[in-house]
Symmetry: C2
Subunit: 359 residues, 2 copies
Amino acid sequence: MTTISDVARRASVTPATVSNVISGKVRVREATRDRVLMAIAELDYRPNLVARGLARGRSEVLALLLPDIANPYHAELAREVENIAYAHGYRLLVRATAYDVGAGRAYLRDLADRQVDGLLVMGGGLAGADVCEGIVQGTEQGPAIVLCNWEEDVTRLAAEESPPTVGLDFAYGAALAARHLLRLGHHRIAAIVHGTTPDCVVHTGRLRGFSTALAGVGVRLDDGDVCYGDSSSESGYAAATALLTRPERPTAIFATNDLMALGALAAAYDQGVRVPDELAVIGFDNIAMGAYVRPALTTVGAPTRDLAIEAMAMLLRGVDGQEQRVRHLSVRPSLIVRGSTTSPGRAPSWAARPGDVLP
Amino acid sequence: MTTISDVARRASVTPATVSNVISGKVRVREATRDRVLMAIAELDYRPNLVARGLARGRSEVLALLLPDIANPYHAELAREVENIAYAHGYRLLVRATAYDVGAGRAYLRDLADRQVDGLLVMGGGLAGADVCEGIVQGTEQGPAIVLCNWEEDVTRLAAEESPPTVGLDFAYGAALAARHLLRLGHHRIAAIVHGTTPDCVVHTGRLRGFSTALAGVGVRLDDGDVCYGDSSSESGYAAATALLTRPERPTAIFATNDLMALGALAAAYDQGVRVPDELAVIGFDNIAMGAYVRPALTTVGAPTRDLAIEAMAMLLRGVDGQEQRVRHLSVRPSLIVRGSTTSPGRAPSWAARPGDVLP
DNA sequence: CTGAAAGCGCTAACAA
DNA sequence: TTGTTAGCGCTTTCAG
């Protein structure tokens, strides 16, 4: 391995000068610089970035902590994050927590020890305010942190001096879904939510927004109308099968993510329940696949790229030690109407049709 | 930040002793070790892993280079790879090349500069033997490298002293698909392949295996029967639409990956072509989603986890400088028969039915 | 503008 | 068993 000293020797200068040439921060006489550049080229020298990291106190590595890389929504987000990171000269460590909070906390420490300069933590991988505390605590002199897509109320986080956050307004998005279903005339409505029991819901904002919007027009979402899943298609399939084999089956299902919604679509098909004529299905996330199932999936979502851009902008600002002017950013998703809620021409004139994007 | 010296001072020993306690490689008297451990606990000391990496000459970081993290197949593989890496104490840098060979090469260098201990390079991210050369060349004293899922012929790679490889036998898998279609009585068969032109095919092994198997029974796959895509659902949709609007449309389509197959399924639906009655569709990869579309997708695939385990075992062996007993491993995929090729009860008795796995 | 020197935090001979 | 010493490869004052 060729080091900076090798280059220095060859160019008859000291390592310091080579370093200056490379960094460009200090003026170097043209002639010497050329000699150094030449030596670099001849020896095919490339700086050892670990050593540089140690000396500079920053590693130029960011980390992305997310619940599950195999969930297309997170994968699509990871792709954007990664591109932005690399565009800014950072590499990206990725770690999935499999929705395990304990594991997530451990990774957080580990990544800090790794001297990552910044950490983007996706909601679902960790949970609740106590973790926030933990993060903040461990953050003294640690990596910059941005929370992305956390379900918890931003204002509550803000009150606790949490790290900056950026994410969707989940409650608003779910309300769009609810209103869409109501306009289509549905009143026997069920939800499939990521969580295990009523007191242990992961997609809290989405469920709250949905039930609140229904309650607003007097439609109640009973405990019995809520089924629980784990964000996988499999769990969505199971939950929907249970719902559709009840004596009084729902005419509409809102799943709090697209994978579960896709599972629900499959379950409906297998039960011989026609979508959208006998059952409307809405998802959340707007993953690419939703546009390629038939009927295509109506869903709630916001541009993943924009979200990634905002989150990374915050993170990079944090890494550079800049003040965050906006500490909490919330993007309003919209409803992407497709065939799983209405067949063209069959919806009442005041309801949205496939192709519409609300609002 | 608390350093090893802080701990040493507090425990009235030298940094070296602290280091010994931590590594456990050198015997330390019980009493002193307790003092050190206590100091570590009191100061909440955690070693700076970058510094350790510099001193030890290894970073405990692996990197995964893949074409596209948003492609579920790669995401599912990444999940397994990541878990294995962490289970062995390694972190994982992930980088997608977006099928850009030039970019892939650049990342390769960059990751080497980052002192990653090992590199898992997925096929599609780079291409051809020339890159292999480049890798090998840059590998003198560089990170250990394993190639995974490369389409190129393993024997050819082997001849050039390539890095170890592990992957599927793509040609074999495609042949399974071909035979399945033939048994079902299809003879107007088309393929949607990742590539741009006949001389610029990415999924070379899959196409070759498919057309060879057809040719074996006298069915020719003309240039006109092959459409090109880029592994996305969108491209599969476009290609299938083109195929299905031809005057003489095919009765079966083999897409060289699942996303394209899923796009083809959507295209058939939109063209009013019933699957599987009027059109059979087969994909490749066996992504999770394929089981949740309706009709469910018949596809070729092998257990992703096993593949990841084999690849990582090779890589870790390489990192540890061990000799590779088996340098090239090829896993035989099987055909997972689902509804997109046969409706239950309608296929001839000698053909595979939904639920079958071949061979 | 360039060189000398110190040090980032940790490890690994070797001595004591 | 523990301490001393010398780096890993690079950056960064500070002199010259």
